[in-house]
Each structure stands twice: as structure tokens, then as C-alpha cells.
Symmetry: C2
Subunit: 354 residues, 2 copies
């Protein structure tokens, strides 16, 4: 298969970790007879430095033309400390999400046996953890009407959802559940919120189209407890934007390292794949960042291409490296491997040379 991939290395450790994913993707292409071509694009602080804009038009065009986008990270401290800055790196990603209408954020969480000691949870809680959060990304209270009274004494935020907004992400979540263990949990607050009742009605209706998926419902406060008490009970968690923001971040600490976690954002146009970690500027250029979040994002990208076997092989390579252990400094501060070495080892494994 021929595929065009837009690569946005971005800021901080973004370029380093993304380079390892490209190595792995090249190894996949060679082994399975695919042809991946890459268009490198600017976004974030790197783009501001070169063009003045955090999201140059060429980047948008390249992304719209691509079959998928592989993104590293965004953000630079020089903008954090400058409140007068007119453009900020993060605006690039927000604008790109908007241009691509990325309405679903997908975050898988699984616990590696070899990394259990890093998790804040006990081993008992980590046994069998393997779920994915589907978070709505373009609606709800973050994008609702905001008001502030003239005298500054009263503020408001509106939360709106339409049936169509719920349907499109719910279909994605049901389809994912069907490919996984056949369980979908809607997280809402339907005992209190009208928007939650709409979510629940739509999901109950769609459930009849997916008779092989078992659906249950959980209030968001209870979900926040269950994620810690018994995360292994979940398969696909579906929820609205604000609840998803809170719960997917809560869920991200289960695995013991933010450096391990991939994500995908899917919408009406090209899908985007990125590790959940940030640009981590302190580590930039030191070859010590964990490339596995990016490499696992590349595996999601392969799944998105329908390359299931290829994606599975990349995940097996990651398991192998974690168990070896060929891990980065965040995982083992004493006996660690460099970012680039881990990338080489993963590519070798995928090529059948390791």
C-alpha cells in the first residue's frame, strides 16, 4: 500500500521521539512491502521561529492532503514566560484540530507488567488493565457561550450538545468495542444534566444497531472512583469533552509513565496521531526521551490504515523492548538506553533482525 504521512515533529522532545517512529514505520514498510512517504511540516514554536505563525498554511494543506498525521509535541518555555506574546505555540494545534474537525480523541491505557512498580496503584488493581477512552473533542462546555457581567460579578459557561455530535463519536466507540472485548461504558451525569440525558438516549438507541456490544452507564463521579478501584472492568469508555478531559488524564497515571501512552484524534478529515506527553523542553536534545508513546501512536496510525498485522507487530516490538528491558531514562534512571538506540532496536525487531 502507498501512504502519504504528514510528519509534524514540533517542539522540545517532539522531533527526537517522532524520528524513532519514522524509523519503525520505515521498517514496517520494508517488511510488508508498503510505500510510506513523509511530508515534514512546521507547527508550534518551531513554526513561529521560522514563519511567524504557529500553523503555516503549507502545514494545513499538507495535512489535508495526507492519509494520516504523525505529530510529536508542542510548546516552548520562552512563550510560557512571556504573557505579551501575541502568538503562542499551542494555538497551532488548536487551529489544526479545528481545520481537520477532529471531534474524537482516543486514548488507550494498558498496564505493562514490567512497569508495575512505577504505577501509583497496587499490582492487584493493574491486573488485566486494557481500555480505551473515547472523548468528544469539539463540543460541550469548553466551546459553549461564555458571559461575564459588566461589573464582573457573574460569569457563565454554556454546555450544548446535539444528537448529531453524540451520534458520530458513539458510532466510532461502538465500532471500537466490537473490535475489542464488546463492552461500552457511557460516562455521564444523567441524573442531573440535560446534555447527559441526551447522550444516554442516543447511546441507548444506537445500541440496538450493535447487539454484540454490551452497554452500561456510569455517573462521572463514580467513574472517577472505579478508574482507581478496578480499572480492569473497562473496555471502551465513551464520554463528553469535559468529563473526558478529567477522566483520560486520571487514567493516564495508571500505567506508571506518561511517556508510554499514545493517542489518536479522529474527525471528518485526516486523523492525527501523537503521544500524550508534552514537549518536555528540559529533556530536549539529550536523547533521553521515551519514544514509546510516539511509536505506539504510530501503531494506532497503522491500525487506522487497516494494517492490523503491522500495528500488532509494532506493539509486540514495544512489549519486547519494555521486557528486555531496553527502556529510557524516565523508566530506569540508572540502566537506561538512549532514545535513538531504542528506535534502532525497535526497527531491528520489526525488520526481523533483533
Amino acid at each position: 500500500m502507498k501512504k502519504q504521512i504528514a510528519v509534524i515533529p514540533g517542539d522540545g522532545i517532539g522531533p527526537e521521539v517522532t524520528a524513532q517512529s519514522v524509523k519503525v514505520l520505515d521498517a514496517v514498510a520494508a517488511r510488508f512491502g508498503h510505500e510510506f512517504s513523509y511530508t515534514y511540516c512546521l507547527m508550534g514554536a518551531a513554526a513561529i521561529d521560522e514563519t511567524g505563525s504557529p500553523l503555516p498554511l503549507e502545514t494545513i494543506d499538507a495535512c489535508l492532503d495526507a492519509d494520516a498525521i504523525l505529530f510529536g509535541a508542542i510548546g516552548h518555555p520562552k512563550y510560557d514566560n512571556d504573557p505579551s506574546a501575541k502568538v503562542r505555540p499551542e494555538q497551532g494545534l488548536l487551529q489544526l484540530r479545528k481545520a481537520l474537525q477532529l471531534f474524537t480523541n482516543i486514548r488507550p491505557v494498558s498496564a505493562y507488567a514490567a512497569l508495575r512498580h512505577l504505577s501509583p496503584l497496587k499490582d492487584k488493581q493493574l491486573e488485566g488493565v486494557d481500555f480505551v477512552v473515547y472523548r468528544e473533542l469539539t463540543g460541550g462546555i469548553y466551546f459553549g457561550e461564555k458571559t461575564l457581567s459588566a461589573d464582573g460579578t457573574e460569569a457563565s459557561d454554556g454546555c450544548v450538545y446535539t444528537r448529531a455530535e453524540v451520534e458520530r463519536i458513539a458510532h466510532l466507540a461502538f465500532a471500537a468495542a466490537r473490535q475489542r472485548r464488546g463492552k461500552l461504558t457511557l460516562v455521564d451525569k444523567a441524573n442531573v444534566l440535560e446534555t447527559s440525558r441526551l447522550w444516554r438516549r442516543v447511546v441507548q438507541e444506537l445500541a440496538t444497531q450493535y447487539p454484540d456490544v454490551a452497554v452500561d452507564f456510569l455517573f462521572v463521579d463514580n467513574a472517577a472512583m472505579q478508574l482507581i478501584l478496578n480499572p480492569a472492568q473497562f473496555d471502551v469508555l465513551l464520554t463528553e469533552n469535559l468529563f473526558g478531559d478529567i477522566l483520560s488524564d486520571e487514567a493516564s497515571v495508571i500505567a506508571g509513565s506518561l511517556g508510554m501512552l499514545p493517542s489518536a484524534s479522529v474527525g471528518k478529515r485526516t486523523a492525527l496521531f501523537e503521544p500524550i506527553h508534552g514537549s518536555y523542553p528540559q529533556a530536549a536534545g539529550k536523547d533521553i526521551a521515551n519514544p514509546l508513546g510516539s511509536v505506539l501512536s504510530a501503531a494506532m496510525l497503522l491500525d487506522h490504515f487497516g494494517m492490523t498485522e503491522e500495528a500488532a507487530l509494532v506493539r509486540t516490538a514495544v512489549d519486547w523492548s519494555v521486557n528486555a528491558p531496553f527502556v529510557s531514562k524516565d523508566i530506569d534512571p540508572v540502566n537506561f538506553y538512549f532514545t535513538s538506540t531504542i528506535g534502532d532496536l525497535l526497527a531491528d525487531y520489526v525488520s526481523g533482525r533483533a
Copy 2:
């Protein structure tokens, strides 16, 4: 001191656990020369059975006249399984909260060394955990305007906060921080929400009146992570209604047993004290419920009366019973003590007889 206490045993295990608190309060009164008199009131399923209403007028009157309210739990399965029920037990508590204008919910969380094996978190995370959540209880999105379009395709929830609503709870939280370790963390989403920016501005302004309190700010998604990664960093957590609902429930699992956790709801009229656990009908009448959540609520009630030494003695008694261990079946399913026995032992300890 003479104090009038309205006692609402409620449903399920409510009466059993509340009876132990009354034993302990009587022991406190005897030892310190106070005079506590109790007015027993109906609320919930027990009230519906006897009067037809989940909150009889006599209960409201007795609560308004009392110096404090000690409440057990509410809810009965016969109403959960009857969607046609016109009155529901839970309405009683909602109506009482409204009548008393209880705008602040206070939930302390601490980790008992003897119960660490019950927590889903590792020992390292539990070291030094001792914080309290101040949750706004009468404003925000739960009480905002709700709409549903005529065709059912669009729903909305409004979230409104006024400066006055933020100020009154913020003052309580600052005062609490001053009595504790002098740290207040406001949890908001001020990078996105207008109401959060109002909360942040008000808290920043009030901070000048409490120069001895260190204030910091945390986004709610980050707070959901930090509560698991490093809960010992917190002293007083202040937040709005929805965030507080999610975070206080998330925090409640840290301690390892919901049966241990007390709460207070404070407002313009009489304050109310209750364990966070529910009516747990399966255990009702078996003398196996954990009375410590209620007894620690009674300790908060004593603090509310300004009886600091008395409250501290009750907490010491609870520590002693947990370490003995004289614990209920939820803590030790094999070698457990009955609810009533634990109450007797605690009263004996308070009396100086244990």
C-alpha cells in the same frame, strides 16, 4: 456547654451507625461536663413509611432549631426498583439541604497506616495523606438552566457562578487552611471556562486577607492526576460543584474504605454532619456496618461547636480502635467486631475506661 442536636438516623445502616455516634457524644458530654440533648427526626424511606413525605415539616423545624444535625444515611431499594414512585427517599436530603442553604460540603481524607493494605494506592502514595475538600454545593451546572429542543435533538446545561457564591465558600476554605497547614489549592479550568476565571480572580483577591495561607491553582484534569500520584501534597482543596463531586469521590477511595470517611455540610443555617457512605441496605440490621464514618462526622460536629479538645479525643479514640484493631467486617471480614461493640469501645475510650 448546652447543645441541641437533631438526629436523623435515616435508612438502612443509618440508625445503627448513628447510634454509636450518640454513645460517643454522650461519653464526651459526661467527660467534659456538656449537656447534649437529641431530637430524633424522620427523613428518607423511614419518613415516607410513617408520614408519606421524605421530609416531614417537623424535621425541618427541628433542624432549624438545633445547633447541629447528625445524619445517618438515606435510600431504600424498594424505591430504586419502582420508577413509578412519586416520592423518593433521596428527595428528603435534597429538600433539607435547600431549606438549610448548605452551600459548602466538606470532606476530610486521611490514610490510616493500619488500613493501607485496603487502599488501591501503593504505600508510597499514602504517606502523609491528610487533606480536606471544600466543594461548593448549591451553584454551578447542576443547578443551571436546562433546555431540550422540542424535537429532542439539542440539549443544554448552563453553569453560572456569582462573586458572592465564590466568596462565602472561599472564606471558609481559607479559614480552614489557616487552622491546618496553611495551604489552599483552588481547582478550576481557568484556561477554558469563564466561571473558573471568576473563581480564580475572587480567590486571588481574598488571598490578600489571608497572608498566612499559601495559595496555588490547579486545572481540574491535572488535579485528577495529582490526587493519585501525590495526594500528600494537598491541604485544603477548594472547588466548584461539579469538579468537587468528581474529585471528592475520586479522593474517597484513597483511604481504602468508604466506611471511614466523614463529611460536613455548612451553610447559612444549621450545619449537617454525615458519613459519606450510603444506606447499604444489604447490611442493615446485621450490626456489621462500619460506625467510624459517622463517629468521625460527630467529631467534625464537635469542632463546629468549638469543642476542639473533645473532637481531638474522639479522633484519638478512632485511631486507637483502628490500630487495636477493633474494626468492622468491611475492614476485616474474618476477625471483626460488631458495630455496637465498636461504639461501646469508643465510648469507653472517651470516658477513660478503655
